[in-house]
């Protein structure tokens, strides 16, 4: 990778004190030094751990959701003059080694956005999540006219053009679909690439404990659709 390129890795995190440390260590080991952790109003030590690891730690004083935290990270990367930004989950379900795979088509100048897809990989996700994700993909297509294999993936990479264009307004998991909408609006070139997914005991259990659970669950899927309907009526 050309060392002149400023790559920022953005990690939105909410109550991830158990996972954030190893995730940051892994990313740093791979040579990425520009790391932004956006602590989304955690009640635990997530922010302190991020600070102790020497990364850029930003804090939302109250919880606003993954979408809001991701956009804060993207805004921060823009302020810091990023050429590329990669968003990755804090719970360790994404493999940081795949950051390079996402960045490669962007560095080659072929694409503006690389979307990690858990469904293109062989060791994808459990069947229930696959079905929920498929429904999410169809809903995203109906609302935004863009069909991708994993509309809810948080592992994505953007070049400078995309960073300038994308500005999400949904606070929670609907933002992943909103990014796709903006890709279409701004006519950004995108590619889907397979990413592996690590469903650890920790990442599976935490969904039961936290308020802002992923959109892969059907209840949140309905909430997501409702918000998208309201936005489509009112904007």
């Amino acid at each position: 990778m050309n060392s002149n390129n400023k790559v920022y890795v953005i990690i939105p995190a909410f109550n991830e004190s158990k996972a954030i440390g190893p995730v940051l260590d892994n990313i740093k080991t791979l040579g990425y030094s520009n790391i932004i952790v956006v602590d989304d109003g955690s009640k635990d030590d997530t922010y302190d751990i991020a600070q102790s690891k020497g990364v850029i730690a930003l804090r939302h004083i109250i919880n606003r959701g993954k979408g809001a935290a991701t956009q804060t990270g993207l805004d921060a990367s823009k302020l810091l003059g990023a050429d590329y930004a990669v968003t990755i989950d804090a719970d360790g379900q994404h493999d940081p080694a795949e950051i390079h795979s996402l960045l490669t088509p962007l560095l080659n100048g072929q694409y503006d956005v690389a979307l990690g897809s858990r469904l293109l990989a062989k060791n994808g996700m459990p069947l229930s999540r696959k079905i929920a994700n498929k429904i999410g993909n169809i809903i995203t297509y109906i609302f935004y006219g863009i069909y991708v294999s994993d509309s809810q993936s948080g592992f994505r990479a953007y070049n400078k053009k995309a960073l300038g264009a994308i500005n999400t307004t949904f606070d929670r998991y609907e933002c992943e679909a909103e990014v796709l909408h903006q890709i279409k609006i701004h006519n950004l070139q995108y590619i889907e690439l397979p990413i592996s997914v690590i469903y650890s005991k920790y990442s599976m259990n935490k969904w039961k404990d936290i308020r802002d659970v992923p959109a892969q669950t059907f209840i949140n899927g309905f909430k997501m659709v409702f918000k998208m309907i309201i936005r489509s009526i009112t904007t």
Binding site: L58, R59, H60, D75, I233, T234
Partner: protein, 118 residues
Amino acid sequence: MNYEFLAYQLIILFVAVMLIIRSIVLTIQGKKNFRELMLAILIWGVFAILALFPNLSTFIAHIFGFELGINFILTITTIILFASVLHLIVKTDKNNSEITQLVRQLALKEIKERKQDN
């Protein structure tokens, strides 16, 4: 003409008149503006008129193609409630967006200050 009022008519009439008087008092005290007063008089005035002349709802219902006055009232009430809920949701959504913007600006404050210093 000899009018016989039923209890529900008197109750609705009493409540509507009290609420109109309350709105007038609040407007005089400067706690409500003129537009809000007019809206209150319009809404509660309609209730009072319908309470005084219940057959009026049937007459209006027929104009709009409803057989019964009660169907007309229920339909209009449902539409008003739906519009009110939608209005509240939109307003809440807007407030949430503004809170997020505020929280984001606070989170980015340090980076912005550092950038300005450089």
